[in-house]
């Protein structure tokens, strides 16, 4: 690749792979349990190479982490969703952990990221769920996590977002 651009030949192969146009709607028929995963990952701040642990659905594989005290990861859901539920889980222990988290949505009309919820404190290793108003709809979400402890660094075991396509 040059400057992040894919060669035209590769792009053609990529675009022609997978379901043929007549079957394209099948892609969206399999219900998705977590909207925030590798397939919707859009942008991210600096994380270590294990960011996938954030959405692998199990805590036994360890935590996604970064060497900063605040990190974010952004997901493009591909369409408007509503009736969200956001769930986060961390180990509440040691250097890498999470003391606060929040989720933002992208507002096209305001051309800005808007807090769905302001930073919330976490002080448990159990899953924590936040449900915004059911009619809140968005296509893009961004998870922020922070470790406010002295010399603290970010560590998160799991994050999931569920919702219903609008």
């Amino acid at each position: 690749m040059t400057d992040g651009a894919w060669p035209a030949e590769a792009l053609t192969i990529m675009n022609q792979a997978g379901l043929e146009p007549a079957y394209a709607p099948l892609r969206w028929k399999v219900p998705r349990e977590n909207l925030a995963d590798h397939s919707t990952l859009a942008q991210r701040s600096a994380w270590d190479s294990g960011l996938g642990k954030l959405w692998d659905g199990v805590t036994e594989t360890g935590e996604a982490s970064s060497n900063t005290n605040e990190s974010w990861v952004q997901f493009d859901l591909g369409a408007d969703y509503e009736r969200f539920a956001f769930t986060i889980q961390q180990d509440n222990c040691c250097t890498w952990m999470t003391t606060h988290w929040k989720v933002q949505r992208w507002s096209a009309s305001q051309n800005a990221w808007i807090d769905i919820m302001p930073y919330q404190a976490i002080n448990t290793a159990a899953p924590v769920v936040y449900r915004p108003p059911a009619d809140l709809a968005t296509t893009n979400i961004r998870l922020y996590v922070r470790n406010s402890n002295q010399n603290g660094r970010v560590g998160v075991h799991e994050f999931s977002a569920t919702g219903v396509r609008k």
Partner: protein
């Protein structure tokens, strides 16, 4: 003779049913526009003697084993009439296999002949997304009652081999083992594979062409192992991966034998 088998057993849990759909000694079956989900087994199994079968436009998801399994492990020596052959598997979605069975793949071929797997979307599989395997590693059964002639092309595979984090290794999103003469793997797109290998031509996988496959963020692994004596000339084509894929041997990195 046509045999379509649905075996119903009591539910083992509220999540999965012990149901399986099998075709044996069957000719001319079309399996299309179905949703097959939440089974404690594979989605569709084309077993001994399944011939001239078309599988298209289906959803296979949340399964213990693979979405589509063609052929049987023990059928390596069957005669031509019993060979699972002349099958097309196209425009299907296979997703979420192996939550409770780590060797679960997306689409698997075992000792088959003339199977075309095209334009499928396969993702979130515990093990390989596409997997073909000849049962006997050291018996080069090229041409014996027909094993081979697989076409795997224009498929999209992502988040295959997702159980690597559990120590399930030696795999690739698109994987071949054994000699499959006349086979072609081309024009596929693999991305977000969790294994280090997007494409993996493993032991004895000679006589398969790997052309014009695109891989994002992973390798092309090539295990240069052939049985001895080998009656044939290696004809595996150097894969063309115009982006990030590499074609070099990686036996050291993947821990495979070389001799």
């Amino acid at each position: 003779m046509c045999e379509l088998t649905e075996v119903n057993k009591p539910r083992s849990s509220s999540e999965l049913t012990h149901v399986r759909t099998e075709l044996t000694n069957t000719r001319g079956i079309t399996f299309t526009n179905n949703t097959v989900r939440r089974r404690g087994s594979g989605g569709l199994q084309l077993l001994t003697g399944a011939e001239d079968v078309a599988v298209s436009g289906n959803h296979f998801h949340n399964l213990t084993a693979a979405g589509v399994i063609a052929g049987r492990w023990m059928d390596v020596h069957v005669n031509g009439a019993q060979r699972t052959r002349n099958v097309t598997i196209s425009n299907n979605v296979v997703a979420d296999t192996g939550d409770d069975f780590f060797p679960a793949t997306g689409i698997s071929l075992m000792n088959t002949y003339n199977v075309a797997v095209t334009h499928n979307l396969v993702y979130d599989t515990a093990f390989m997304g596409f997997h073909q395997r000849k049962a006997e590693e050291y018996s080069l059964l090229d041409g014996v009652d027909g094993i081979g002639k697989t076409t795997f092309s224009h498929n999209e595979v992502y988040n295959a081999t997702s159980n690597v984090s559990w120590g399930v290794h030696d795999s690739g999103a698109v994987y071949s083992f054994g000699s499959w003469p006349g086979s072609v793997v081309s024009h596929n797109y693999v991305h977000h594979a969790t294994s280090t290998a997007n494409y993996y031509s493993d032991n004895q996988s000679h006589q398969t062409r790997w052309d014009y496959n695109v891989g994002q963020g992973g390798r092309f692994d090539f295990s240069p192992v052939t049985a001895s004596p080998c009656p044939c000339t290696r004809r595996t084509t150097t894969p063309t991966s115009p982006t990030t894929g590499s074609a070099g041997p990686s036996t050291t990195a993947t821990g495979h034998r070389t001799w």
